[in-house]
């Protein structure tokens, strides 16, 4: 370890704010980019599931009405 204390790690001899801001922004952007595809995929699957349910409901109504018609 180059630094002697946690405080020294944070301060980085005055460069702390720059270094930590750069790292925080980087990690935030990486987290967004990596999590976006999973969120979109789950939304799409939910959408398709909803369509399937609607179609199934319609299908069952049709069969109920079928004998009467």
């Amino acid at each position: 370890m180059y630094f002697d204390s946690f405080g020294a790690v944070l301060a980085m001899d005055g460069h702390g704010p720059y270094v930590w801001a750069a790292y925080a922004i980087t990690l935030l952007v990486l987290a967004l980019v990596l999590s976006a595809p999973g969120r979109r995929r789950r939304r799409l699957l939910r959408q398709v599931r909803g369509e399937l349910r609607r179609e199934a409901n319609q299908g069952s109504r049709e069969t109920v009405h079928a004998p009467g018609s």
């Binding site: 460069h15 720059y18 699957l45 959408q47 599931r49």
Partner: protein, 250 residues
């Protein structure tokens, strides 16, 4: 051998196969890349000596350089995918091209922002219209241009053709970015890592940097594969395999 190769290409064009393989790849590549990132950044931040001229601000190198390197590499991937989709009309190449753009834009953004933050204590300014920085800004606009162009067309085939042409034309910018620090020597320092000849960076700083570059490559691939999976789903919502998948994942 030939038959095996053709069957591989045939499978590459198959959306359900690509979706499944990309998912399987992600399951081990993502944790591995995150581990490499944690080690690389932890090492660079805490266990290396500061730069003798720049002090501790130089530690930004462990995110700035990997982001910039992979942002450039990502552009190659996007342009090559664009060429394949343009020439052979391969749908999955178009999916790959579209998946590249937001990841490349994010990495270019990281390179620019961390560069600006690094510039303040080192050069005394957040921004200069230096050739390297300006050409990286153009790279960001190229990535954003591809994203915008996709949205601008209602006709998907026309959109993918236009984006492929834009990304191919944009490759002119890549050698300019590489060479900018040598052609117009101003504030941005020249490359520290060279494939030919001695690197101008101490090995104790080089190893964590290389590890971080590998991690960024891995994370780029993960985001690319993830975007491709989502894009494949979006284009195939009416097909049987997606409906079975949605029904199964209750």
């Amino acid at each position: 051998m030939r038959a095996a190769m053709w069957s591989f290409f045939h499978k590459l064009g198959s959306p359900p196969w690509l979706y499944r393989i990309a998912g399987a790849l992600l399951r081990w590549l993502l944790p591995l890349s995150l581990l490499a990132l944690a080690i690389g950044l932890g090492w660079g931040l805490l266990y290396t000596a500061p730069d003798f001229r720049q002090g501790n601000s130089y530690r930004i190198i462990y995110i700035h350089v990997p982001a910039a390197v992979v942002a450039l590499a990502g552009y190659y991937v996007m342009a090559i995918a664009g060429a394949i989709s343009l020439i052979w009309k391969m749908k999955m190449a178009d999916v790959a091209m579209k998946a590249c753009a937001p990841v490349g834009a994010a990495l270019t953004f990281i390179a620019l922002v961390t560069g600006a933050i690094w510039g303040k204590p080192t050069w005394g300014t957040w921004w200069v219209w230096d050739a390297r920085i300006t050409s990286m800004l153009i790279l960001l606009f190229l990535y954003l241009g591809v994203i915008a162009l996709y949205e601008a067309y209602d006709n998907k085939a026309a959109a993918s053709r236009a984006c492929a042409v834009l990304s191919l034309v944009g490759t002119v910018n890549i050698p300019i970015i590489y060479k900018s620090v040598d052609w117009w020597y101003s504030l941005h320092q020249p490359a520290s890592i060279k494939f030919t000849g001695e690197s101008s960076i101490d090995p104790s700083m080089l190893y964590p940097l290389l590890l971080s570059i590998i991690a960024f490559y891995g994370l780029f691939t993960c985001a690319l594969l993830g975007n491709m999976r989502a894009e494949i789903l979006a284009r195939e919502t009416r097909t049987g395999w997606v409906r079975r998948l949605a029904g199964g994942e209750g």
